[in-house]
């Protein structure tokens, strides 16, 4: 199994520099990072990748068995770290990938210099018994699945081979509208369930590497109290609230986001 092509791994920036690894969340692919990458590349080795099933990852590597839970994705992150062998990385996980970072760092802390949890949520579903408010109910997630079904976003069985089968000609994919978020509907459904139905609250306490929790000032998906919860559960972690609004600060406030990542990564040297 070629991990690099399976996950469409791209390494850029300063050779020998501290390594910043950027992991995209549910919805789109590594292109989501493109506005923060130029700033980070000036100082760091930057590692980008697509989760299997997203972007230009190898779709044939996807199986419901492996990717219907967080573990398959966590295994992939650890395999990429091993394969690149660049030493401990600063792992920046957006949204659901923040929790993948938490689980990966709990299993192999030696792979990680630190974690940046960007707009994280350890559990999207409310848990009134524990006094936890994730912001959503299981019915809301069903509604999301309906939205996915109603919008295939440029995905069609006929186009998939063009996008996936020409890694040497990425412009073919680039020209397709919405291709950044084009996902096989079957895979999108499974990933949506992993993202929104996982509960990783208990795993937060396992993190023993330096951690920065970066939340947005107004985020419809991960409200401020969730960020505060994450920070409280991870010993020694720091919480910053970005001026950025929405759930994707790397797009809505790329410079601020890049600076927050860079400042944290510098403290780890």
């Amino acid at each position: 199994m070629d991990v690099r092509s399976r996950n469409q791994v791209r390494v850029s920036g300063q050779p020998g520099g501290a390594v910043v690894m950027l992991a995209h969340g549910f919805g789109c692919d590594q292109n989501l990072w493109r506005l923060v990458v130029p700033t980070l590349e000036r100082e760091f080795t930057v590692v980008l990748f697509d989760h299997v099933g997203a972007g230009r990852s190898d779709l044939s590597a996807w199986s419901e068995d492996r990717y219907s839970g967080m573990d398959g994705y966590v295994d992939d992150v650890l395999e990429i770290c091993r394969e690149l062998d660049l030493g401990p990385v600063t792992f920046v996980g957006h949204s659901v990938s923040a929790m993948m970072g938490v689980l990966a760092a709990a299993r192999h802390p030696e792979y990680f210099a630190g974690l940046v949890l960007l707009a994280p949520s350890p559990c999207f579903i409310d848990d009134p018994a524990a006094g936890y408010r994730g912001g959503f109910s299981a019915e809301d997630i069903e509604e999301l699945l309906q939205s996915l079904d109603a919008n295939y976003l440029g995905w069609s069985g006929a186009m998939a081979p063009v996008i996936m089968g020409n890694p040497e000609r990425p412009e073919l994919g680039q020209e397709l509208t919405n291709s950044f978020c084009a996902t096989d509907p079957e895979i999108a459904r499974v990933f949506a369930r992993v993202t929104f139905l996982s509960d990783n609250r208990a795993d937060l306490a396992q993190v023993a590497v330096p951690t920065l929790v970066a939340q947005c000032s107004s985020d419809a998906i991960a409200p401020p109290e969730v960020g505060a919860f994450v920070q409280a559960q991870i010993k020694g972690s720091r919480l910053v609230t970005l001026n950025a609004t929405g759930h994707c600060p790397q797009l809505s406030a790329p410079e601020e986001t890049a600076q927050a990542i860079a400042a944290f990564a510098r403290t780890l040297r």
């Binding site: 969340g25 809301d140 997630i141 509604e143 999301l144 309906q146 107004s218 985020d219 998906i221 797009l251």
Partner: protein, 437 residues
């Protein structure tokens, strides 16, 4: 449109009175402001963070909000259902940021009274003179009828899928009724059969049976009706009970097939000829050593295979036998031979030999099957069926027609079965010469 207003060499049409003033008078009432407010679609302008800055009357009316309730107070995503909001944050907003536009997204808006309105949303990012994004312009189209139509399509698709399942179940059930629930338990004979279904949508036309006749003798047959589906199933059913009844009346295999030929000719004479290929066998216990004397009659059917105890195998040729049901007096070919302890007789339909192989355009073929069973012999009835079933599995979708298999084998004396020694001296018996009637 040619306006009668100047010197562009576009004079008034001589045949048409100049009444443009009247025609366009109505348009004068259509101010830009009115066009915005009462357009046939909803308009919405938001700041980059989604804060609603401007909204038109059409959208306010659709949703039952007052302007002051939305402008400066609510975000666009606040108007969405919760699931829609998740979708907006994970797909819509990121794509809009990256591409500067996104179109035709199906969402549901929540009206002031809590009802939901299906809409199609298109947004573009408006940039300032410095190229920096300033605000987002959104048009909202009423998709109530469209969504109802789509749901109707979805419902129809689900119903079609259910119907297809029902049809498959029906076909499978019908198929099963055309085959014996279990082939007979014949003293001194080991029997195995298999039916390979190529398509679950259609009833295939292959059939077989093994049944007792008078005085310790047994009849067996295996056949293939031309065609598929319910029409073929009717012929299969007719062929099955005719063969069994005819064998009671006169068990001579050639006579049995002649009677079937007559019945099919009577039933389907004229416009809609129906025919089949059949091989019919009469098994009579022979001698004290175990073993059977077998008379096989064939009407246009692929020859049976004999896998001998000594490890050799050959076709049992029955040339000259004609299709059953085509002509009034079909030629039937017969062959008589012994099935000794350790021997296996295999009957099959041509779904196997006609299967497409991985080599483009090529069929599996009689030669390949002969090589296959030669490598198999000596074996048992179940051993033969299992091996050929695996072969069908290997050919996979290349097998596009149903395939029936029936194997009978005379077990050797106790304990010998396991040896399956290839080194046993060959009896050297060539296949008996065929006779024709």
């Amino acid at each position: 449109m040619c306006r009668n207003d100047g010197d562009q060499g576009c004079g008034p049409d001589p045949g048409q009175p100049p009444d443009d003033d009247r025609t366009f008078a109505a348009l004068l009432e259509d101010s830009v402001e009115d066009l915005y407010e009462n357009a046939p679609c909803g308009y919405l302008s938001t700041l980059l963070d989604g804060q609603i800055a401007k909204v038109n009357t059409t959208l306010l009316d659709w949703l039952g909000y007052k302007r002051a309730e939305l402008v400066g107070r609510r975000k666009f995503s606040d108007l969405l259902t919760t699931g829609g909001r998740l979708y907006h944050e994970t797909h819509f907003a990121p794509l809009l940021r990256m591409q500067g536009k996104i179109s035709g997204i199906a969402l549901e808006l929540r009206a002031a009274d809590g009802s939901r309105m299906p809409v199609l949303v298109t947004s573009t990012v408006k940039s300032g003179s410095d190229g920096q994004p300033l605000l987002i312009r959104t048009t909202v189209f009423d998709a109530r009828d469209r969504r109802a139509y789509e749901q109707e399509l979805l419902r129809a698709r689900q119903e079609a899928e259910r119907e297809r399942e029902r049809l498959q179940q029906l076909a499978t059930t019908l198929q099963r009724t055309l085959l014996p629930p279990a082939v007979g338990n014949v003293p001194g004979l080991d029997v195995a059969a298999y039916y390979h279904i190529a398509s679950t949508d259609e009833v295939g036309g292959d059939f077989y049976d093994l049944f007792p006749l008078a005085a310790g003798t047994w009849g067996l047959f295996l056949g293939d009706v031309c065609g598929k589906g319910t029409e073929a199933a009717a012929v299969t059913s007719l062929a099955r009970y005719t063969l069994r009844a005819a064998a009671v009346y006169d068990p001579d295999p050639a006579a049995v097939l002649s009677n079937l030929n007559t019945v099919l000719n009577h039933e389907y004479n004229g416009t809609d000829p129906r025919f089949c290929t059949v091989i019919f066998g009469l098994l009579t216990p022979d001698g004290d050593q175990g073993g059977f004397r077998i008379v096989l009659a064939s009407g246009g059917h692929p020859p049976a295979l004999l896998l001998r105890a000594d490890g050799t195998a050959d076709y049992l040729p029955t040339p000259g036998g004609q299709l059953i049901g085509v002509v009034p007096d079909a030629d039937i070919a017969t062959i008589t031979f012994r099935l000794d302890p350790g021997d296996t007789l295999l009957l099959h339909t041509d779904g196997l030999t006609e299967a497409h192989t991985a080599v483009r355009g090529e069929r599996y073929g009689d030669e390949a099957l002969l090589d296959f069973v030669r490598a198999l012999a000596p074996t048992t009835a179940q051993g033969t069926i299992t091996a050929v079933r695996d072969l069908l599995g290997t050919l996979g979708t290349g097998v596009d027609d149903d395939t029936a298999l029936l194997a009978v084998h005379v077990p050797r004396a106790d304990g010998e079965e396991q040896q399956r020694a290839r080194g046993t001296p060959a009896r050297g018996a060539p296949p008996p010469a065929p006779s024709s009637r």
